[in-house]
Symmetry: none
Subunit: 214 residues, 4 copies
DNA sequence: GATGAATGAGATTTCATTCAT
DNA sequence: AATGAATGAAATCTCATTCAT
């Protein structure tokens, strides 16, 4: 009675492989052409037929959503890890980690924070993590007291266009940009250079995400 | 021989008006739907037929290029003005001005620095202007000595995704982001926090622009 | 100042022609292959491109709806004309007329009474017309007293499959079927052969239409 | 040498079960969605894989043909039984029985009389049976002398659209329609209301069936 | 110069059928 | 004999661009 399960598993393994291949192919194609790329190119790169693509992902958007979801989970994972350390350095670590994560798979970032049903909870958790990290960094004296969690989030948003511009010819450039931003977040000893524009409220940030989700 | 010229002049005036209307319509439509918007909609909003649109702009891209070119000229103008003052404040003024300029007409920023034949000279002049402004600011002690002209340029690139995310729900948020970046550009009195990642070279920046132009 | 209107009218006339051609082509293609026929065949038969088809009818269903609407209007017209005469013969005239109308353009009858927003009012008016015609016929002694308006409606429904089966090889057969039905509607002098099954209520008939509209 | 046969028999029994399950599932699915329903759904409802479906029925049409064949056999059986009684009531009994049979499994009626190789003989036998029944009814004085066998056959065709329209909301309505038709078939004592349209010839009816078989 | 209908290649998506396991 | 993932041709629909009037 072992044969049937084995058979099933064998079939399923190939299917899982195809799913993986499709996701990898989509990443590559999107990285080069953005999400405007035609789906049959993705199928061709993955080495499968159109029907296989649509068996695994019922619409093009579902395929994008899966990639986005993976990236979001990775960011959440990085955020959780950074928050756990609690040494005040987590914020800076996360910014660099998030930059690296976004730089690795460019092309579909515009959907990263789209607030789908699944995304809503992620957004809320991520906002909370960022909030904790900012607080920790303030306690550790590593960032200015008027730094807002939404400033950090905007920083993450800003990486998208940086990465899109620099990924092929200056793939490490985003690190420099983040360094500059971290420098801007540092406490200002003289106190004479307080930020004069109020930060977004978290509610506004959520609304921005909702609005950008079409 | 007076009537025909009059008529011609009238025709020409109307044609110029149509061209203006098309550009304005395109700005509005792109702001709402991005450059994926259909050209029919632009013609409809402009109140002209498709043929008129294609008389003035031989392809959709040509229409976008014209908008982009106007924005580039405005940025160059702002840059020149800032550089002329020579008081070391020009860099900061330009960053805010450029932010405002990009925020006013979002939707087609991804083509802003695409290096068309016309764009090539603009890019070079703009790089030179930024270089001057950075030098002036350094002399005035307003920015750190290791600030590179490409850091400033990346800052301008980063505004695109900021503006796209925030324009409807937090339309002033980009100012806050720029403030943070300017803070990061300030001289570091203690000197202990030098930037550890090397900046892009101007040549690399140019190559990024070329690569992003498809 | 006459040229521009003429030009516009000329363009519009061709567009109207194309619309007509598309409707005619659709009728022919649907008559042969039913509504499963591919739209590009319709476009090809009409001698226009796909885009033209979709300029006139935004979806395939819209094209079908237009055909259906025309047929419905024709039936309403026939019904009104029959009801106006008021001589008790209108019911029989209408049945034959409706048969002819359905037989002329077979292939999309299954959508004839689908209760779209537009169809709802037509259904109600048609039910009313049939009701009047049945009453007139009863007064004239031409139909049995237990004949219901829904019996007549079912008769119209039944024509669909008759027509689909016979249209190519026995195109007049539906007339025979209607004659038989009309004979069944005649008063039964002996009175011994009353119909034993109750008729549908008009409300049930409406619900049938709604249910068949998907 | 007992085990292998046992296993084979078991396998065969299971195979027969699967075949039955598929036919039942197909009936249900077709009843709801018509023959446009996807085969995947039939397999899923039957609880078997696609391969099993295609082992039993080499094409979707073969599956439909099998259902159609079963229904045809049932109709033939009903016809033979009605003809055997020879009491002149068989025609009316058959019409009601046939109505019930069609109403029970709607959705694939349009293929009922398609003249496949297998269908050809059935059609001929059924025409003969109907002919006998009509003759018996005439002898018994229950139907008019000018009633043709093809009139009866058209009546059976007409049930298809009646059933499709009424099956969910007025499932007994077809009986009323048949009653009306039977009333129309009754002898006309006054003789003044002879049918004026000639009936189809049996040969024409056969040709209709052939033409409708695509 | 202006018009807007026409074009048709190309995009996404579906589904009957095949076949490796 | 059974499974269900894979296939790819075909369907509907879009839109940048052309061109007759």
């Amino acid at each position: 009675m072992t044969a049937p399960p084995t058979r099933q598993r064998a079939v399923r393994r190939e299917a899982v492989q195809n799913r993986e291949r499709l996701l990898i192919a989509a990443k590559h194609v999107f990285a080069v052409k953005g999400t405007d790329a035609a789906v049959d190119e993705i199928a061709r790169v993955a080495g499968v037929g159109m029907g296989t693509l649509y068996r695994h992902f019922p619409t093009k958007q579902a395929l994008i959503d899966e990639l986005v979801s993976e990236l979001r989970q990775r960011l959440l994972h990085l955020g959780r890890r950074a928050a756990l350390k609690g040494d005040g350095l987590g914020l800076e670590t996360l910014l660099v980690d998030a930059g690296r994560a976004q730089a690795r798979d460019p092309g579909y970032m515009q959907f990263l924070w789209s607030r789908s049903d699944a995304g809503r909870a992620s957004v809320d958790e991520f906002l909370q993590l960022l909030s904790d990290l900012v607080d920790q960094a303030k306690v550790a004296g590593r960032v200015r007291s008027d730094l807002s969690v939404t400033d950090v989030w905007m920083t993450l948003w800003s990486l998208r266009s940086i990465v899109e511009m620099t990924r092929t010819r200056a793939p490490a450039a985003w690190r420099r940009h983040i360094e500059l931003l971290i420098a801007g977040m540092r406490p200002d000893p003289s106190g004479e250079r307080a930020l004069s524009v109020r930060p977004m409220t978290p509610a506004e940030a959520r609304r921005c995400i909702d609005a950008a989700s079409h």
